[in-house]
Symmetry: D3
Subunit: 306 residues, 6 copies
């Protein structure tokens, strides 16, 4: 019988690695990490990886996290792992996935290039990604690495039903997500609602129209991620103005930098927000208003699959 | 003074290569092509390419065209071209750019992989692509090739204005294009209209809602490509039912396989369709109903840029 | 115990995949394939390949077949196959394996480049090729893929003996095959005969000499492939003129495009032709004059080898 | 005449880019950089790079700086630069250049891998590095990028002479630098002094011996970099105990994190420290005790070389 | 005006580099080479290569020569050459270009892999090869390097005419070269003659037949290379037995290891042998019997071409 | 149960392969090797490698050995080995690991490039190296190969203790090895001694100082390799002049080209030298003065590790 796969994690994702190791037959990989006075990281793999099947959990939530992940991954390969699977619950820069203006840095592409530059383990490198901002990013990876796009739809759909009840409208915050919302709404057997934005000037837009079905309905706004919540508030205002009975929101990824969550609460537009634990910030902020559901089950299913 | 760049073309795109060579200072590259009884192609570059700046025009409109392009490109590099630029007005399989169901072949990715497998010319390989179905495909290319996404917006916007007049609504055929339509509508200073589709069963959908602004308006439906025209007809019916005063359509790419154009004409929904000459099929079918505008100007601007 | 390897096939080679699956312990892989009105192929792997040992049978008999093979292969790897082996009974363009004149496209090289561009499966990619026109093509492949050249000599030698009887001369159609014929003649313990061609003009040659041993002998002409049969007819005429008692032909690959087989029959030079089922065209044309022998046994031996 | 090369810089190195642009005929490249509330960077190249010779100045002083450099470099290539030269005055993690214990992450290698993953510009990528901790790192880079190791010896030797006067001993802080000190001492025509350290326990060492020549001499301690200054203080104590008349220090790179510089001052062992401006921290801290000399001259010589 | 290209050479080919530099406008590159007592080579490029167009002449006539060439080539690239062209007049191991028996090392392929592993210079790497044993080897190279196969036919044909006079038969030593001989004979307007060999046992063969046209004719035997001359002697004996009036030989490459040339002389079969100076051994042995003609002209034509 | 791994060897290392096969459960791989009159090697793998775990032992002690190793390695991979591990007890050119002067060929880098160019086996390529001259060379390898640096410290420390007795000084020959000696001295609990060299002119240096602790002590000089022994003699003279009671030497690698060993004996400075059998030359020269200890045990431990 083969030994259990090893699960390593970056420091920010220890909570998720804990959940995964509780659910499946995995060996927890130990890493010694120190930070030197000049800010450089010392890292040592304390668990031997040679010939082993290795998972490394870590989101690219910051540059530090990204390079901590990259450095560990390179070392896991060079110390002889048989297979390396990166498990990236939150893929940073996924909204910088194309250039709108000449000269813009498409950081989503350079991040996939970074991960593609990890040397291949004996048998293979794989990367598992959860609810990417656009599906296409899966195909930005280059060379030998095998990406797998994992959907959180199972837990998102359940959360939407709990928020919206028997009859609700699934609404989007932006025309760019219309297809996703349409798809999920069809899955749920509900109607979908959209907003149209008009550019006021170079930096600002205003919502000018809402499709008409929200009057006296429970509206669940669905997006792949909530960052500052600005778009969410503008959309919620539009749906409220269009007569929505109640409003709530569900998203895979919740970041809420700085006082973003407070501002959402104080807007008094939404009765509740549900996100997954794909980003460590959401886990830290969870409370009565912000409900956090786990993706560990979904991930473990994929980690166990051949 | 450097010699003029050489412009080669696959057989299907000779019309476009002709237009390009008329507009710019280019040397026309000669290719001898024969087909053997067993179907294999004999190709010979009659113009010497060693040390030269070379453009190769050719859309991936079929498997034959794709490999004709690939074989020529490999030869141009191996005979020593200084730089090779593929000019691909129509990139086939761009709608197979992600897997909806497990096991689906993402042919758009394997086509970018094909082009990325052309060995690099001395100075570089570049690929110019026109109005891709999704912008993300630009980043599917791997390794050293440099993609450039060229927009036909300039001629499309002009065509939309000619079709719609001073006041019209720019409308989409599908929620997946909502963002594009929103973007162009904002550019034109016009309103945008969307449709919502409900899945009837596994293969069929029906349009169930239209945003309300089309009543008594001229509606110009805008899409990146028209193939059989099925979506276009369904959308047009919905906009007609919602009270549109007149309907027309504009798209970058027009394919109209088999009797597609006839069916569009016979539907009597649209007064006119405008597409560019990015696909040779459109060029063959042009008539009073189907207006074909050239992208040669747009391409030559890019070919001339450093 | 490991699960049986999966055998997929392109559509043209279903007959051979059937034979292989009957002979060995393999799981037949299912593929859903549809062609859209615009000519694009939709393909879906219905059998899960993740972690599996996968064979994909398909000759590069046309551009469509070549890209069908390429697209499937890329998908098999990206869906996580442990190992991928391409089984290519007929490798198209193998006679375009070098440039005679400046500027000629060496399509055999660009086809090996195409196959080398399939991303590597977890454990490895392999390509099995049968009786290539020149052995050197095995070494045209680049990067990580491992080519294996499989010889059909076992069945060819047996067929030659059946055609020629106890005492015959093994003859060639062209000086370029002299070494092959010499080699097989030595294996069979028979004499070999050659022809010498003189170039009449740029496109035409005439046979001007035959080595002397064919008088009153049964002559079996051996070539790696028969396409239109033109060279075969010219060689047969020369051997007939030199006094051969009877003439027949054996080859690994039989293409016979258009009316090629009819012309061979009507020439009344050969009593019979034997080819293998490496090309689907031969399988379709088999009759009393054209005998088709199977290479499934030979292939299965290689598929089973470690 | 070719246009002047463009010089871009990361934000931390604007001071050095300014110095370079004052010294040479370069065009200053403009970059728009913003930080979003979630910490992600927006970057846009405002100067067109297509077909141009481009320099990008930036040290890998932190993870943020490293990825800012990487993202910009990828974009410069993808927007068509003819040649890209990274100018890295300080290469972080250069002391993590080999594993002492099993499992240690060799971060210097993964940082060279990161830089090697930048796609190659049309004509080439180059990387210029200044006084690396070990010369070998030059050869850690992979693939097509061309590294060039630039020595600051010219300005270091001059600084040593100014600190030490006509007759001094060049001393090292650690046996690992003995060869470097020996080399520079020979260049200067001075004697060299070494220290020997004994390991007290797993984490601590003590200096136990000094070579005998320092009695009543001016001692200039030379190292490639000063970080916290701990080794420097221990070595200085040993040289002081061995009878040195005066002590000072010179190094290429000065980091002085947190209160390191204060502790060096308060030790009262050294009369002065001289470092170059290769690290932005030294530039910020310069004062009477810490003299900072510029490497701009040295870099410009290399930037101008063919 | 660009500076003249630099021509470097390995030590064995200085004679050819001298000839090339006399014919064309080239700068002679200086290399310092020493051999240490342990047999390791010290090499230093004394001519600066950064930004220059560089040719490196050297045949792979031994392992030492092969690695001297490889090491120099890598250094030329890493010191920044703009373009590197390897000029390989004799490509060793070209007869080990395919495996006859399972397990044989195809050294010709691993030598092309060696050369393909030279990192690419800024603009490109090229490799020029002269009269390869099989044309296919041109396509064994991998990745970015551009091979060019140069024919010595011009000087070989002239030499054959001088040897054979107005009317002669061009003959081969082996069925494997039949196509080459046929091709050249057609070029010369002469007849061609072949031999057929029968395998006596595992190691030995005997010539058993000659095509009949050589009676009372001058016979010029043509091969790509003469090594020990064993095949040449056997073929000459057969042609003599078949009544040839006179015999001579011409080949591109002459190696004549040990006493091979003496044995050829003492056989008294051939009146003269002509080879080119592609191999240094021939240059050393040239005398009245062995005439050596230069390929410098042919090479310079290619070096000057764009 | 998996079959035992196969151990192949180059011809120079048969003695070590024998030792390894006696110690562990390995299958001895058979290779047929012949040398042709023109100096080319014929090699054939007589043991089937497809699907097997393969070790190949061979030091890069000369160009011939290096390419014999390279050719065999390429063939092992192309015949389908599952995993290939190169076991390189002595890595030639490891002292040419950096350029001191402009233009010097860094042969250590081009040799790692050579080994990195071996195509990857199905599961992986690994390279095991023993006591490299600098640790950094481990990171010179590129791409997919996984290097492992093996230390002979276990047998070296034991040999040093046997040479030096209960109380001795561990001394170095050169400041460049000071860190290594310091490290091993600390391991042994002994003092360390150093020498300082002054450059006399461009080619010569003289030892001018020794750290003071060697008076009346047994001195064991430790280096990674002894070549001509010149440095060793100079250092020994310095330690003798400084009053050492007895002198001996220990090194991992012993080359002793030409009459080097005799000169060491005749110097009468050292009572004994101990080296390992990492280089075949030491094995041939072993006698009462030169003791050779085996590294087979150390290697087998690594070969057995996962």
């Amino acid at each position: 019988m083969n030994p259990a796969p090893i699960v390593f994690t970056t420091r920010s994702y220890e909570y998720l690695s804990d959940e995964i190791c509780e659910l499946g037959r995995f060996e927890r990989g130990e890493i010694e990490t120190r930070t030197f006075p000049d800010g450089e990281r010392y890292q040592r793999l304390c668990t031997h990886v040679s010939g082993r099947d290795v998972f490394l959990v870590g989101g690219t939530v910051s540059d530090d996290d990204s390079l901590e992940l990259f450095d560990l991954a390179c070392a896991i390969v060079k110390y002889g792992a048989d297979r390396l699977t990166l498990v990236i619950p939150y893929f940073g820069y996924s909204t910088m996935e194309r250039a709108i203006h000449q000269g813009e840095v498409v950081t989503a592409k350079s991040r996939t290039r970074l991960i593609s530059a990890i040397p291949p383990a004996a048998r293979a490198n794989r990367v598992f990604l959860l609810d990417l901002h656009t599906e296409g990013i899966t195909h930005y990876f280059e060379g030998e690495i095998t990406p797998r796009h994992i959907s959180a739809r199972k837990v998102i759909a359940q959360a939407a039903r709990e928020l919206g009840g028997d009859d609700f409208v699934l609404a989007c915050t932006d025309a760019g997500r219309a297809k996703w919302v349409e798809f999920l709404a069809n899955d749920l057997g509900m109607d979908a609602a959209f907003v149209f934005k008009r550019r006021v000037d170079d930096r600002q837009t205003e919502v000018t129209a809402v499709s008409a079905q929200v009057q006296d309905k429970n509206v669940v706004i669905y997006d792949d991620m909530i960052r500052t919540g600005g778009s969410l508030i503008h959309a919620a205002e539009a749906y409220a103005a269009a007569g929505a009975k109640s409003l709530s929101a569900v998203a895979t990824h919740g970041l809420f930098p700085e006082d973003a969550l407070d501002r959402l609460k104080k807007s008094n537009l939404l009765k509740r927000i549900v996100v997954t634990d794909s980003h460590p910030r959401a886990v830290k902020l969870r409370d009565g208003f912000l409900q956090v559901i786990s993706v560990a089950d979904i991930l473990v299913d994929e980690l166990r699959a051949p």
